[in-house]
Symmetry: C2
């Protein structure tokens, strides 16, 4: 019998306990991602994503792509180089100031490196002949690298100078339909957080640089969060504290007895922009009455690399990563016995068999099972490492299996339970707990 | 009966015949991609990728990811911002000169925008404690945006200032194993071109800026190609003409009677670099005898956005796009009858039924079938457009189907044949011709 094992840990570059360079370790997630070989320091505020980091990143991206497709989001890609004039005209060149990376090309033309693409998305439509009202709403999104010259990049992926963001731009024919689209995208964001499996709060937000009618932030509560969120437990209202003049009273119900302040990590931000950019760039459509009218716009950001770190920040312990099952680099790791041990001889082929069995019986797990074939290391050492990385299910092929080949050991990382299970029982247990 | 149709052309943003801005139309592929709404002009040498362009790009990316995984390629992501010092130390800062985009951050630290990552990939390993010889070969790759300040960006995606590239960096313990790895990656590149379905030639290359022992270029022959390739038809040897002092004689077999010169578009380039970067950055491993030794390196590029355009350049006519089946945005387009026509009434539900039938019976076609539900337009108009975009199979639900509901019309774009087929015959025909 031969089984195809595609994912072997010995073939994955995962440098452990890399030197932290000069940069300070300012967050738990940063320390864990560096220690466990998910990312590596590059220039300040920038990181090399290593294979396990990429694996999680791709799973997160897939969830977002699927949800964007569900609401009719159309995937695009805008260049990182933006004509400075475009941001000068919108007034944001001055407002954003030193947070923008600026450069000139060989012909002395000026560019900024895109932190966001409202102007570019709007310009895209304004260079076309105005579209008919029938074509709207339009919902464009991209997943790409963004740049921001943070004065003090910190917390690793949570406040970097180069980061991966999903940004969406919607266009509607009037404010009412723009509001509907806004609600739809907000709901879609909530679906994304639910699919990932993270608790979040939706907070009345600060429009800041963006401008517009209305904005909401999606926040993960965390002690290292840089935002202060006012929560009225009386009416369950959340608002960014920056918006409150009187922080002792709920701006919604007026109650002052049940106000709590939380720290939050902003992972998403939605803006109902209205005409701010479309008016400026003269971005119009042709109405039912053949009139040309200005489009209403929405803009929506989701920090992808930031969210990866934020999940870890919220769930992990100081020493061990903990993942939502949805974005763990692999859901299951299988640890064969140590090379040269009696157990190895007695369990020959079992690890590969378990791997194939699970992959075959739970097709969702394709590409989500890892064999830790570094059998030169003891099981104890590999088990410790697997727990630190936080693979949700750790299957150990050890003494017990060598005595009774129908049983394997399962360590369930979330509950910290160790069980001895038959293949079928293992299958059932994983199926019931994998989502 | 209800059928789920996921991909409807009315929901896809495809602005036709966009104004060409001031930039010149310098290639057939550029004209077609602009005219048919695959890309849009942005700042000089940069483009917005629109949804159909993204669709083809993603298919190309998937082929490359799979092939990279087959040879043990590990996916990473390096930042675009590179410390200028790193390139100064390697000597490339001066060599590349004005082709580099340069910038400073708010603290006056200098960066370049990455055109390629040899120094960064090498530095990644040199900051670790040297790895054991057992860990090699290591093969890292990324797919990411690259930057080059071309003095004259032209031919659209073929010579842009911001482009998408797959770059791979391999590390081996000695030159012999580095050569083996080099051969393996070359073979893998050939598999990629074969999977895509494009004729290519492998040409002895010019190492140029990269340096190193050996290099090969992968070229698509095309009249607008900027490289001159010397081909000896006697011994079937290809070499970049830049390398030949005497262009009238084959540098391999010496024959001078069968020398032809071709123009080519370089879509891939492989370099056996040896120690050039690893020595400089002191990138070492620990040998079997516990000695610390310098690693041997290879570097491999594949222009992804360029290849997209190059395929079109080679296959298309002046007016119509032609795709290899593997990367056509959709393989099949289905055209229902015109809204309000007698045929529409008589064929109600048929287009959706054909869509579901094909998707169900050819699972490979999931997400590759498109319904042109813009039924306000005549069939003739939509058929013309579908031919221009070059969808490989065009299924028309028209008069003939309204007379005999078991028959549909198939236009096979490659052979220009029109056929009337039963569902099963349609299925067979597509299955036989889709690859």
């Amino acid at each position: 019998m031969s089984f195809l094992v595609k994912h072997r840990l010995s073939k994955i570059f995962q440098p452990l306990n890399m030197p932290a360079k000069s940069s300070k370790i300012t967050s738990k997630s940063l320390k864990l991602m560096l220690d466990l070989g998910f990312i590596q320091n590059s220039v300040p505020g920038c990181f090399n994503f290593l294979p396990l980091g990429i694996k999680s990143l791709q799973k997160l991206t897939k969830i977002i792509d699927e949800e964007m497709s569900n609401i009719g989001g159309q995937k695009m890609l805008f260049p990182s180089l933006i004509n400075t004039k475009l941001w000068n005209d919108s007034g944001r060149l001055e407002e954003a100031g030193p947070e923008l990376f600026k450069l000139q090309d060989r012909h002395q033309k000026s560019y900024i490196l895109s932190p966001t693409h409202e102007e570019v998305a709007t310009e895209m439509l304004s260079t076309l002949s105005p579209l008919s009202y029938r074509e709207f709403p339009l919902k464009f999104y991209q997943i790409s690298t963004k740049f921001r010259d943070e004065i003090k990049p910190r917390f690793g992926l949570m406040r970097g100078r180069e980061f991966i963001m999903k940004d969406m731009y919607t266009f509607d024919i009037d404010l009412n339909s723009a509001k509907k689209t806004y609600e739809e995208v907000c709901e879609s964001y909530e679906n994304i957080f639910k699919t990932i499996g993270m608790d979040f709060v939706k907070v009345l937000g600060n429009s800041g640089l963006m401008g517009g009618h209305l904005s909401h932030e999606y926040q993960f509560k965390s002690s290292i969060g840089e935002d202060n969120l006012l929560h009225c437990e009386s009416c369950d209202y959340y608002v960014n504290a920056e918006l409150c003049e009187d922080r002792s009273k709920c701006p919604q119900c007026g109650d002052s007895n049940k106000i709590k302040v939380h720290s939050g990590i902003e992972v998403g931000h939605t803006f109902l922009l209205g005409e701010k950019y479309s008016k400026l760039l003269n971005t119009k459509y042709i109405s039912m009455n053949q009139e040309s009218k200005v489009l209403q716009m929405g803009s929506y950001g989701l920090g992808i690399s930031r969210m990866l770190a934020a999940c870890l920040e919220v769930l992990s312990t100081d020493s061990d990563m903990r993942w939502p099952n949805s974005i763990a680099p692999y859901n299951i790791i299988i640890l064969p016995a140590k090379e040269g041990s009696k157990e190895e001889t007695l369990t020959k082929g079992v690890p590969e068999k378990v791997y194939s069995f699970l992959e075959e019986r739970i097709p969702d797990l394709r590409d989500n099972i890892l064999l830790d074939d570094r059998t030169g290391l003891t099981i104890g050492r590999r088990l410790l490492e697997a727990k630190r990385v936080g693979y949700p299910f750790i299957v150990v092929i050890n003494k017990r299996t060598s005595e009774d080949s129908s049983l394997v050991e399962l360590f369930h990382t979330k509950t910290k339970q160790t069980m001895y299970l038959t293949y079928e029982a293992l299958l059932d247990y994983i199926k019931q707990n994998v989502h």
